[in-house]
Amino acid sequence: MVLEIILLSLLLISALITVYARSLARSAIGLGMISAMLTILMFRLNAPYAAAFELSVATGLITVIFISAISFTKPLTSQEEKDKSKERIKRYIYLPIILAIVAYLLWNNVGFSNILISSKQFYNSNFRIVLWEQRQFDLLGQVIILLVGIYSVIVLFKENKEDDNNK
């Protein structure tokens, strides 16, 4: 119980790091930290398959994709960075306050320990059965979205090469 509260607060702190970070690369690493904390929480709450997928996809693949997209952009000079970070802190000053209020309300009213315990009750069936027999319609949707992903890469990135060749 104590460990889960520590993990949740670390998650919130890394979320705040993501918002207030000075450069885009630090924000991307903050996102990776959020996913890592979430993975450990999922292992604690007795959901090993979800934790394995979260670790490999969110912490690994998505952080790599973000950093490779950021590498295409031009970095700011240090003076511009300082100005933008001051402006950003001023803009998002209300975030920790709202987070504290919502956490306090959840703790008192809904039953914070209730939420964390109840997720252990529903882990009662095999992963194979859930994916291939109970969730077949979702699988069809996910196949379609994979095909959409392939076509989006073709539409968005292939034409760049043609335009560059024409220029």
């Binding site: 109840s118 529903f122 109970q134 319609f137 979702d138 379609i144 979205i145 076509y151 539409v155």
Partner: protein
């Protein structure tokens, strides 16, 4: 058996990509599957109605729900996609881009067919994501500045909507143990005052209002419709807001959460606000597509207003909403096709640069008049009947203020459309437009088809109303 409507486009997609890459083959196959979907749903609709609850361990069976509401939505989807394929064939000239566009449209057709058949919260989330993803990619295809801006706004606000829908699904799963609609309906009926269900209802209504473009969540809609290529504006206005936002709301109210007076109040207030704001912004617009986008926002408000009318047996409001969705899809699609034809021929959609073009483009001019009359609610077009049913539903629920407001705001609708007609189509033709000519058959044929549908179905309106719309009342208990 209705889920073959997802597998047949998947088969065509495989044939086109793996066996033979040909634009003509893609077009012919797509036309045939869409026409066969329309024929199947219209004439043999009763054979595919199913409320299939899955039996585990018995092989390949999908948990889908096809009832009378799905039949009407599938009819609407097939008409709009047929017309979109025709317009895409005419506006895009490059062969590679045309091939990519056809494939994306086929994927969107699969996803939209799947979305209207869901029986589960998480499946609904997956299919909402798929339809949104195909919409983003198609908006930014042309990569000019306005397309990228509109697509970016749509992407960010749609991500917020997705987050709230997922949060709502998570809360419901936590309370009920399962996300399928019958289980949640049973839980809501047994525990009517649960606070977690109320929070999840607030989240999911917010998310679906964002997807549908209700005020004050409509920031993305004008930019996305204006910046997108003409064929995709046709698709967005006809399908994306209606199936993503409005059909899912109706399905959740009818099959899961039930009617309640507080929800009725929310719908009435937001509906009236949407009609007023959409109409006010549409009056002063100079760009034709932007004016049509604000008009779409306004008509979506009518649909939400109709959902707030708890007529004595709760059904007439829902029937009015579904019928207005259908008639608005047909009329607004036809007006966007006219916009596409004008953009193709004259190169611009700014209304002060075009004057008197009805002399050179007669088909476009006269079909736009018919579209205008249908949307403003003039008999005997289709839009008149749908608005009449909404007003009757409001009056029968003793909501006299909202009913009169709906009638009066319909006059403002007519006002800005008459403004468009006067400025653009009828008048003295400008000098630089003298060698304008009518658009090709590929763009005038869909416009003639849709205005004929709205006129003929408006005259024989009892045919569609009694056979397809009235049976929806049997699913509302």
């Amino acid at each position: 058996m209705g889920y073959i409507l997802i597998f047949i486009p998947l088969l065509v997609f495989t044939i086109i990509n793996v066996i033979k890459k040909n634009n003509l083959l893609a077009l012919v196959l797509s036309y045939s599957i869409i026409v066969s979907q329309f024929v199947l749903v219209t004439f043999f609709g009763n054979n595919i109605i199913t409320n299939y609850v899955k039996v585990y361990g018995t092989g390949f069976k999908l948990n889908c729900l096809i009832d009378q509401l799905t039949i009407v939505m599938l009819m609407m989807i097939s008409i709009v996609y047929f017309v979109t394929f025709m317009i895409t064939n005419s506006t895009i000239k490059d062969d590679d881009k045309k091939f990519n566009a056809f494939n994306l449209l086929l994927l969107a057709l699969m996803a939209t067919n799947g979305l209207v058949m869901v029986n589960d919260f998480f499946t609904m989330y997956v299919f909402i994501e798929v339809v949104s993803a195909t919409s983003y990619i198609q908006i930014v295809q042309s990569k000019d500045k306005y397309a990228l801006e509109g697509g970016f706004k749509y992407l960010i606000l749609s991500a917020v909507a997705t987050t709230t829908i997922l949060a709502s699904t998570t809360l419901i799963f936590m309370m009920c143990g399962d996300t399928s609609f019958p289980v949640v309906k049973e839980f809501v009926r047994n525990n009517p005052n649960n606070i977690v269900i109320l929070i999840s209802l607030i989240f999911i209504v917010t998310g679906l209002f964002l997807k549908a473009g209700i005020v004050p969540f409509n920031g993305w809609l004008p930019d996305a419709y204006t910046g997108a290529p003409s064929a995709i504006s046709v698709l967005l206005s006809g399908i994306a807001t209606k199936t993503l936002g409005l059909y899912t709301l109706i399905r959740l109210i009818v099959s899961v959460f039930g009617f309640s007076p507080k929800l009725q109040g929310v719908f009435l207030v937001f509906g009236l606000l949407t009609i007023i704001v959409g109409a006010m912004f549409a009056i002063g617009q100079n760009n034709l597509k932007r004016m049509l986008a604000y008009s779409s926002i306004s008509q979506t408000g009518y649909i939400i207003l109709a959902l707030g009318a708890l007529a004595p047996n709760k059904t007439l409001g829902v029937l009015g909403a579904v019928f207005h969705m259908f008639s608005h899809a047909i009329s607004k699609t036809q007006l966007f096709i006219n916009g596409a034809a004008i953009e193709e021929q004259a190169g611009t959609v700014e209304m002060d640069k075009l004057e008197g073009i009805a002399q050179k483009m007669p088909v476009t001019g006269w079909t736009s008049v018919m579209g205008m009359l249908s949307i403003s609610g003039i008999p005997p077009f289709l839009g008149f009947w749908s608005k009449l049913i909404i007003v009757i539903a409001l009056f029968q629920s003793n909501l006299y203020f909202y009913g009169s407001a709906a009638i009066i705001l319909s006059i403002i609708t007519l006002a800005y459309y008459l403004n468009m007609q006067k400025k653009m189509f009828f008048g003295k033709i400008k000098d630089e437009l003298t060698n304008l000519s009518e658009a090709k058959i590929g763009m005038t044929l869909p416009a003639i088809l849709l205005s004929a549908v709205s006129f003929i179905v408006g005259i024989f309106f009892t045919l569609i109303f009694y056979n397809y719309i009235i049976p929806i009342q049997y699913i509302i208990k």
